[in-house]
């Protein structure tokens, strides 16, 4: 038993040292962007939510029940939070027909954009040279978004994406085994969360929170509330409140 705990501790230590995310930045602002409370209308897009299991080999297996639970829990948590963001936040009314498909495609584009910011801006060792300059937090989904049905009359759109892969028992065992026997850190689980604010006049990303290791089990109401609080931490124009996590976040734009 002692050996077992030793292996576990070793695994935990290895996983912590092996992770490249320690230097990762988590928040970015477009240079010069500020938002005063009570001045704008923000449309909250339907969140993109995916929940599944991570197999022993690391492959993602979608789970429809978990995704439904997360959708309900995160929906409630977002509805509760949206009144406390300092500005008028309205829920996006999904258009019918082709408009719905375009809205869906824009949500996918936001996710790809946030993935890129995460990979090529927030991780300093992999930052693109053109994104290294001062005041270089310049990312956009294009000004064409202004013509998306249902966003007219709003100033900004808030996009939210979450993707959770809960490690299976086999994956967790592999994590311990790989660390103890091979000396390799294997991650168990993915808990990706992106919240980003898009200026609807330009399509520019003016604020982004992005983390691949978010807290809160989105399959439970309490966990979903914690996740939403973390997603919206530091939201522009939001009244100041106590920090949700103890870890200080760094800002990409300087």
């Amino acid at each position: 038993m002692r050996r077992g705990w030793g292996a576990l501790a070793f695994a935990a230590a290895l996983t912590m040292t092996a992770t490249p995310l320690t230097a990762q930045e988590k928040t970015g602002n477009k240079p010069g962007f500020t938002l005063a409370p009570g001045t704008v209308t923000i449309v909250l897009m339907r969140p993109e939510i995916a929940v599944g299991a991570q197999s022993t080999g690391g492959a993602y297996e979608p789970n429809a029940d978990w995704t439904d639970q997360a959708r309900e829990n995160l929906g409630k948590a977002l509805a509760e939070a949206q009144g406390q963001l300092g500005n008028r936040v309205v829920t996006y009314v999904e258009p019918v027909g082709q408009g719905a498909a375009v809205a869906h495609e824009y949500r996918a584009l936001f996710t790809a954009l946030a993935d890129s910011v995460q990979t090529y801006q927030f991780f300093p060792g992999n930052r693109l040279p053109t994104k290294k300059r001062d005041d270089s937090f310049l990312w956009s989904i294009g000004s064409e978004v202004a013509s998306l049905p249902g966003v007219q009359g709003a100033d900004y759109a808030l996009f939210v994406t979450t993707e959770d892969h809960y490690g299976s028992t086999g994956r967790k065992l592999l994590q311990v085994f790989a660390a103890a026997a091979v000396g390799v850190g294997v991650s168990a689980g993915v808990h990706k969360g992106y919240a980003g604010l898009i200026d609807l006049k330009t399509g520019d990303l003016v604020w982004l929170n992005a983390d691949l290791a978010m807290g809160g089990d989105v399959r439970t109401p309490e966990g979903a509330a914690k996740r939403v609080a973390q997603l919206l931490e530091g939201f522009p124009g939001k009244p100041v409140e106590a920090p949700v996590t103890s870890a200080a976040t760094k800002t990409a734009a300087r």
Partner: protein, 203 residues
């Protein structure tokens, strides 16, 4: 990671996952490509002269290739293939035994190039959603070549992408430059810069 990097690790079990984790943080080294200066690409004699600045990614999709981007390869991806020799593949093999990638043949015609790209993508990306939209003759580095357009969607992602390729078979080797980006905003925003780079190609 490169555009096909996510395919590795799922099939090879423990060892590949371990190796992937060790290798992942090392794949940095993105470099600035300055405008107005000829630059040799893809470890080959192929040179291009870009009119605007690009980022060259440290990660390569294959042995004789390199990728340039403005905002990351998921948003705009310009890839050079600099003389892929006969019996070589466009990308690193995903699973040589179970799903071997098609190989370049010295006898290929330029009209075979879009088919090679299509079959390589279908296997490397594991997607059934790939369509060659059109093709026409167009000189490449002063040699008879082809221009073709395509569209595809990666699995687990509802983001349709458009692509355009320019290539030729020169001395039995495949030279190819492709550009691909999401059809929303990014393709139209970047395709002119790609065409300028492709027009400037010299051997």
């Amino acid at each position: 990671m490169n555009k096909f990097g996510n395919k590795f690790g799922n099939k090879f079990g423990i060892v590949a996952i371990g190796l992937g984790l060790i290798a992942a943080p090392v794949a940095a080294g993105n470099r600035l490509i300055v405008p107005g200066q000829p630059v040799a690409v893809a470890k080959s004699m192929l040179t291009v002269t870009p009119a605007v600045e690009w980022n060259k990614l440290g990660a390569r999709p294959g042995r004789n290739s390199e990728t340039w981007t403005f905002d990351g390869d998921a948003l705009n991806d310009l890839t050079f293939y600099g003389g892929i020799e006969p019996e070589r593949t466009l990308f690193r093999e995903v699973s040589k035994r179970n799903k071997p990638l098609p190989r370049v043949k010295a006898t290929m015609l330029v009209t075979d190039i879009p088919t090679l790209v299509e079959n390589s993508y279908r296997i490397a990306l594991d997607t059934p959603l790939f369509t060659v939209e059109g093709m026409e003759p167009m000189a490449f580095a002063g040699k008879p070549g082809i221009r073709f357009t395509y569209s595809f969607t990666r699995p687990n992602e509802d983001l349709p992408r458009k692509g355009e390729g320019r290539g030729a078979m020169i001395d039995g080797k495949l030279y190819l430059i492709t550009f691909e980006a999401p059809r929303l905003h990014y393709f139209d925003a970047g395709v002119a810069s790609f065409r300028q780079v492709a027009d400037s190609a010299k051997l």
